[in-house]
């Protein structure tokens, strides 16, 4: 052991430094297999039987060599340890996520100076929800395909000074001759950044700032201007609404600020089985073409073709106006299911009603405003005096820019967080015109679709490396601070702009000065205020003004006539509907494998976008799932595979945006097709319902990577239990299925019989309660779990092979019309099905079937109620996975982390920085599954022990529970009578709480609460008629 400088080699090739060895040193497979080429189950390298002895012999030799000497490992301390930084102890910083108008106040967990997890900041109150996309943005920080420094033309070795000099001199020349300078950006929430742009404009007065949003809400702003003279997005308060009608507004998924809305909405959906508990819910109507996440959670949902959605609003207006004394408008006769009922409920809930629409058409928005005005919403659920700034795009200005640039009237253009060549419907026009612009600069982090066409790229760092601030809502401020030093040679866009404007370029100082001047108005010590704001992450300047009502001055008749011209009561063709999906969003962060593999909540498909078509339309067109079709809109077409989607409006084909990136990186390029070019402009407003399209079969098929193949629950009441509100009000046990077992002494509860002795939990008994009524299926927990537990991404082919690794999945079930017992028919979902989401992870059974079958005791039970998995003991028989009734155990087929066949950021050193050091990175050949974040439990217990106290409720949170925007997941110690979970279960044990598959009596530590729909209790047959 004395010589520590010895070399160790794994083979003679390494010793000799053979060229081939060096080349293959990093890869697990000898040759890169293409899709479907994994020959052997284990590693695909095609190991032959004859090699076995050789390998064995070499292995023995290697082991004995390894046993003789120890590889030298280094322990490298800091030279000068920063204060407050302790290796192996995490530090948390408050910061701000704001990307293209999507906003979240966040806490960033850092270990040894690198961010490893993002959580919501509870001090931000409403804005503390963190979506799947925010969780996944962490991985974006460690994307190795970003530019490593500034780029001039094709030169990536250029220095900042050089490009600064070039750009400044060109800008001065252009400004001197009065040439047009344009800054094109997505929504900017940061007031300091806007001030920087103002400073830049002062220096170069010919500058104009153009803002556009890929998924625009400009019509709402315009509608409010026409109706109230206020060109703003109002703040909505769903928590005050008793009746909500949403027309094509996916407010739980992709509309404006879903995290805030879902939190408010969940408040109205919470019920309790306690005697004096809350027993009322809001009622939610949804009219839409695509089955959105919001529609899936609605009490009443109607599928309406895009060309008729405007009429839903006008008809609803007339029905309400007739009762509430408003002026009737001229509108084509139109009826949709539930329209009368919705109107009646809205009238009854006057003062507590809310109508929202996501249709980007100002005439529709004016009618919606008139309707809300009649319902008195402006004094309760809508606040025009506290505007939100999540969408600031101006479609008309952007179109003007496209014309300008095409006409060669623009001399300089700077793209800031914008990629219009990809995400603007007229991107192709911009692409052809861009090379003609004398000076073009992009701040994007890579040479993307737009960036590859500009002359200079001045890459800006990731938001976790940057200073920033945000004003998402009037009077509500948020600060963003860097949580890691710059990874590459990048510079913040604001610093670049300041530098080019000839000002000091330190944006940190700039933000501070801006806050001192504009936000710090109360007097006192600014440093204290600054430190506190940085610590809290958020600062609210004053109490939010209560909605005070507004005087409606809009012209409803004018709007109605415009509406009547555009929307038709009858439509026969196939209409195109473009929508934003929850994971990928608008596609700006598409090079993120976590998001690519995130199953879209409703279709459960990933790694592709599809042509979603209803069951009837598919039949009419002779299409089947997986058929590749050409969707053609006015000569622009894309070829995408078909997904047969129940609940979609008949005669509609729906395609998601955000896919079809060409220059984003390995994970995104070529995944799906770009649907933006199919969108159109109606009166200057971006329309995602452009009109009729043709759908033709190409004859090809493409397999769809779907994580769930069974669509309905097949009548298994023990899996999903649900009821309607009126039944629940009468009996908290309504909808519960309590299985009975026949014995010689008559029927007994399934849980009364057991072959097992059970476990005694003296210390803690950790458990989860999941409220199916407030789980909307958004999937934030899925990505949170992935980030926390180092879950690998497996790629499209492996998802098709059903080998996805997510420890936590969300099962989505449709209802079926079929008779109970007709199992073939029961597998087919209804035309417009009810949808239920059910998060599913290891249930930590007390009588665990997996534990008894493990031949090597790799999975055992702990004294705290956890089903534990020792990876190092597992030999990979997979008996446990076979015996698991919930199918939550995942087998590692590959060594995903060191394998270039899985090039999803985890196979390079930078990508590996995202790994949570508290959780083992599993190798191939072992089973893994939800550990109930045992590392967080252990950490919290240790903290309590060090403080010589008991663990109190709230000390421990699990990744899924803490990330849930609606608090649907409650985690805690069921042995602690003071814990939230104990109190919840005390109430619900004789009410809504059930265990999944109770009849097999495995006694899980995870309970679910029944789903309750605020529907009229009607016999099933009647409900059908209404649908038809």
């Amino acid at each position: 052991m004395e010589n520590t400088n010895k070399r160790y080699w794994r083979g003679l090739e390494e010793l000799r430094n053979d060229e081939k060895f060096i080349k293959n040193a990093g890869s697990e497979f000898s040759e890169a297999p293409t899709e479907n080429q994994y020959e052997s189950l284990v590693d695909g390298a095609g190991t032959h039987r004859r090699d076995f002895l050789k390998v064995l012999g070499f292995g023995m030799a290697a082991v004995s060599l390894a046993a003789c000497e120890t590889p030298v490992k280094r322990a490298i301390p800091y030279v000068n340890k920063p204060e407050g930084e302790f290796p192996t102890i995490a530090n948390w910083y408050a910061s701000t996520y704001s990307e293209g108008g999507d906003y979240a106040s966040i806490l960033v967990k850092t270990r040894e100076g690198r961010p490893v997890k993002i959580e919501g900041n509870s001090l931000a109150k409403d804005a503390c929800g963190v979506s799947a996309r925010v969780h996944a943005s962490l991985l974006g920080l460690y994307d190795n395909e970003k530019l490593k420094g500034p780029k001039k033309g094709d030169d990536t070795k250029v220095a900042w000074d050089t490009i600064d000099k070039d750009i400044t001199s060109q800008l001065s020349q252009i400004a001197a001759k009065g040439g047009a300078i344009r800054i094109v950006s997505s929504t900017i929430l940061s007031p300091s950044t806007k001030s920087v742009i103002a400073d830049f404009t002062t220096k170069y007065p010919t500058t104009r700032h153009i803002v556009y949003d890929a998924n625009s809400s400009y019509a709402i702003v315009k509608g409010n201007e026409l109706s109230f003279g206020k060109a703003v997005l109002p703040s909505y308060d769903f928590s005050k609404a008793k009746v909500i009608v949403a027309v094509d507004a996916d407010f739980l998924g992709s509309w404006i600020s879903p995290d805030t809305y879902s939190r408010q909405y969940a408040e109205t959906r919470m019920v309790s089985s306690a005697k004096d508990g809350k027993k009322d819910m809001s009622r939610h109507y949804q009219f839409e073409a695509v089955l959105s996440l919001t529609g899936s959670n609605a009490d009443y949902r109607s599928a309406v073709k895009p060309s008729q959605l405007g009429l839903v609003v006008s008809s609803l207006y007339n029905k309400v106006a007739a009762k509430l004394g408003g002026k009737a408008i001229a509108t084509p006769a139109f009826d949709a299911p539930h329209l009368d009922k919705a109107a009646a409920d809205l009238i009854a809930a006057k003062g507590n009603a809310l109508v929202v629409s996501g249709i980007n058409d100002p005439s529709v928005q004016v009618v919606v405003n008139a309707l809300n005005n009649l319902l008195g919403s402006y004094a309760s659920t809508i606040n025009l005096d506290v505007p939100v700034y999540f969408r600031q795009g101006n479609d008309i200005a952007m179109n003007e820019f496209v014309e300008e640039v095409k006409g060669g009237k623009v001399d300089a253009v700077i793209f800031y967080a914008a990629n219009p060549v990809y995400d603007h419907p007229r991107g192709a026009e911009i692409a052809t015109a861009l090379p003609k612009v004398a000076l073009s600069v992009s701040f994007n982090d890579r040479a993307d679709e737009t960036g590859s066409l500009v002359k200079f790229i001045a890459p800006a760092p990731h938001y976790l490396e940057s200073w920033n601030d945000a004003e998402p809502k009037a009077g509500f401020y948020s600060l963003g601070q860097p949580t890691i030093s710059l990874i590459f040679n990048t510079r913040q866009a604001q610093s670049s702009l300041l530098k080019w404007a000839g000002q000091p370029s330190d944006f940190h100082e700039y933000v501070k000065a801006y806050w001192r001047k504009n936000i710090f108005t109360q007097g006192g010590n600014f440093e204290q205020f600054w430190v506190k704001s940085l610590h809290d992450g958020v600062y609210a300047s004053a109490a939010t003004a209560a909605p005070a009502g507004a005087a409606f001055t809009g012209n409803v008749d004018e709007a109605a006539s415009a509406l009547a011209k555009k929307y038709k009561a009858s439509s026969t063709g196939i209409e195109l509907a473009i929508f934003e999906n929850i994971g990928i969003g608008n596609g700006s962060a598409a090079n993120n494998p976590w998001l690519q593999e995130f199953p879209e909540p409703v279709t459960k498909a990933c790694w592709d976008n599809h042509a979603n078509i209803s069951q009837k339309t598919a039949k009419d067109l002779g299409l089947e799932q997986g058929d590749v079709v050409k969707v053609d809109f006015k000569g622009k077409s894309i070829d995408v595979p078909v997904i047969v989607q129940p609940g979609l409006a008949n005669g509609t084909v729906a395609v998601a945006i955000g896919y079809g990136r060409e220059k984003a990186g390995k994970s995104a390029n070529g995944v799906g097709k770009n649907a933006y070019p199919l969108a159109a402009f109606a009166g200057g407003f971006l329309s995602f319902a452009p009109g009729e399209a043709t759908v033709t079969k190409t004859g090809e098929t493409r397999e769809i990577a779907q994580t769930q193949t069974h669509n309905t629950v097949m009548g298994r009441k023990s899996v999903l239990q649900e009821t309607v509100l009126s039944h629940f009000q009468k009996d908290p046990l309504a909808g519960r299925f309590i299985p009975k077992i026949e014995t010689s002494e008559g029927k007994v509860d399934a849980t009364d019989l057991s072959l097992w002795n059970g476990h005694q939990y003296k210390n803690h008994s950790w458990g989860l309660v999941i409220d199916l009524n407030t789980c909307f299926g958004c999937g934030s927990c899925v990505i949170s779990c992935q980030a926390e537990n180092n879950i690998p991404v497996v790629g499209r082919q492996e998802v098709i092979n059903a080998r996805e690794m997510h420890w936590l999945r969300i099962d989505r079930y449709y209802s079926s019309d079929a008779e109970v017992g007709d199992y073939t028919a029961m597998e087919i979902a209804s035309e417009n099905p009810e949808v239920t989401f059910q998060p599913m992870m290891c249930q930590h059974c007390n009588n665990a079937p997996c534990e008894t079958v493990c031949p090597v005791l790799a999975t055992t039970h702990s004294s705290e109620g956890l089903n534990q998995m020792a990876y190092n003991r597992c030999v990979g028989t997979r008996y446990c996975a076979n015996n698991c009734p919930y199918k939550v155990r995942r087998f590692n087929w590959f060594k995903y982390f060191d394998n270039d066949n899985f090039d999803y950021h985890f196979n390079n050193d930078l990508g590996k920085m995202v790994i949570n050091p508290e959780v083992t990175v599993r190798s191939r050949g072992v089973i893994e599954k939800c550990s109930m974040c045992v590392h967080l439990i252990q950490e919290a217990k240790l903290t309590a022990k060090k403080e010589r106290r008991r663990v109190v409720d709230g000390d421990v949170s699990v990744a899924c529970g803490s990330s849930c925007p609606t608090n649907a997941i409650t985690f805690g110690d069921m042995n602690d009578p003071e814990s939230k979970i104990s109190k919840l279960l005390a109430v619900e044990r004789e009410g809504r709480a059930f265990h999944m598959l109770e009849e097999i009596n495995v006694r899980p530590q995870v309970s679910y609460l029944t789903k309750i729909r605020n529907k009229d209790a009607a016999p099933k047959a009647e409900a059908h008629k209404e649908h038809a």
């Binding site: 322990a75 490298i76 190092n872 045992v934 252990q938 240790l942």
Partner: protein, 430 residues
């Protein structure tokens, strides 16, 4: 016999193999004596601790002294960074000392002659101010120093003896046993050799000069060997013994794969724990700042070294390496001695802070190691063994109250780590 001897030499490298067996016997004798002495002194220390200390707050003072002062001052008259504190109370009164501890610079600035003298004597090194220590605290500290000065031997034993005895109890007997065994075997071999020589000489003498007789002896010897070799029972017994030995050796070998007990790599700087932790009795916590806080004990950063070496022994070539490291902003790349595999989770604070274990429990007698060596095997068996045997430190820790109560109701045994889930997989593997 070669193998155990080599193993043995690893444990006690201070026995040169070439020395005579007599030396070994003497060594055994000595170490037995020292063991007895250590145990005695532990008893003495125990008695000393039990006896009420003069100042009344000397016990508290001892803790304060170790946490705050011991890095730079010895309780004796030995010079560490600052002067030895023995007799400080006779040199100055408590009021002066309090002022000095609270803010030494103020005392120097006031022109106090003794203060200025001592400041200059210690090359104008500033003493850290301790404004948080109350007058009672300071009185306690000096009460402890005075106690320690009046009874130096038991105090020293109390500091170093107890853990040493603990270590000796856990590993000493087996070392001794090995030494005795080896010695006995060697003696037996010697006796055997002597006997063979005697037999040869005797048989030669008996046979006289008859060559035939010699031939007879050899023939007889050969024949008897042949007879033995021809016996199937003996043959199969030999074969079985051989096979079993091979199997045992293989199994032992397999179990020891990756076990680095005794690993003592050469470090980039010849830092001596014997000097720092042994002679100067610097608290482990002073440099390994993480032991009470987190998972890692922390290898000290270079700036911690500079707390003392900014003043002391600046010229030493080894210390110069630290200076170079700071100047070039390149960290010192120490060689990791204790390599726990990634799949096992270990947290220092759980063991040191919560369980109150001494570092020596696992790391051996660091205070005597010139070069740090891995003393424990760090195998799972070793962990489990300790978790089975060790009582949970439940004293004054409300976390355990309920567990202790429940345990007491159904068992008379003490609460062991194993009783509260200390053997469960997910305590260390996740």
């Amino acid at each position: 016999m070669n193998i155990p001897f080599r193993e043995d030499s690893k444990f006690c490298s201070f026995f040169p193999r070439s020395k005579s067996f007599l030396a070994i016997f003497v060594a055994i004798l000595l170490s037995t004596c020292s063991l007895t002495w250590a145990q005695d002194s532990t008893a003495a220390a125990g008695a000393a601790a039990a006896a009420p200390a003069g100042g009344g707050d000397a016990a508290k003072g001892e803790t304060l002294f170790k946490n705050n002062c011991a890095q730079c001052h010895a309780a004796s008259d030995e010079r560490v960074v600052g002067p030895g504190l023995k007799g400080a109370t006779t040199r100055n009164n408590i009021a002066w000392l309090t002022k000095w501890v609270h803010n030494s610079q103020a005392v120097i600035a006031s022109g106090d002659p003794y203060a200025v003298k001592i400041y200059n004597e210690y090359s104008k090194a500033q003493m850290t101010s301790f404004p948080n220590l109350s007058e009672d605290d300071i009185k306690g500290i000096f009460a402890y120093i005075d106690n320690a000065a009046s009874a130096p031997a038991p105090a020293a034993a109390a500091a170093g003896g107890a853990p040493a005895a603990g270590a000796a109890q856990s590993s000493g007997p087996s070392d001794l046993f090995m030494i005795v065994l080896v010695a006995l075997v060697v003696v037996m071999l010697l006796v055997l050799g002597v006997l063979v020589v005697i037999v040869t000489i005797l048989s030669k003498a008996v046979a006289g000069d008859e060559g035939a007789a010699k031939g007879d002896f050899m023939t007889r010897f050969g024949a008897s060997l042949k007879r033995i070799a021809g016996d199937p029972a003996i043959r199969s017994a030999t074969l079985w013994i051989f096979v079993l030995l091979v199997i045992k050796a293989t199994l032992d070998g397999a179990y020891s794969v990756g076990v680095q007990q005794g690993y003592a790599p050469k470090q980039p700087i010849t830092f001596s724990h014997k000097l720092h932790a042994g002679e100067y009795k610097i608290d482990c916590n002073y440099c390994h700042t993480g032991v009470n806080r987190g998972k890692s004990a922390h290898i000290p950063s270079a700036n911690i070294c500079m707390n003392c070496h900014g003043v002391i022994k600046k010229e030493s070539p080894e210390i110069q390496k630290i200076y170079t490291s700071i100047e070039n902003n390149t960290p010192i790349e120490w060689v990791r001695v204790h390599n726990l595999p990634d799949l096992a989770y270990f947290n220092h604070s759980q063991h040191v802070n919560v369980a109150g274990l001494e570092c020596e429990n696992c790391h051996g007698d660091i205070a005597k190691m010139e070069v740090v060596q891995q003393r424990s095997s760090l195998t799972m068996g070793w962990c489990i063994d300790c978790h089975r045997k060790t009582d949970v430190n439940t004293k004054d820790n409300k976390y355990y109250d309920k567990l202790v109560q429940l345990h007491a109701s159904d068992s008379k045994e003490a609460l062991k780590v194993a009783d509260i889930g200390g053997l469960e997989c997910s305590k260390c593997h996740y």
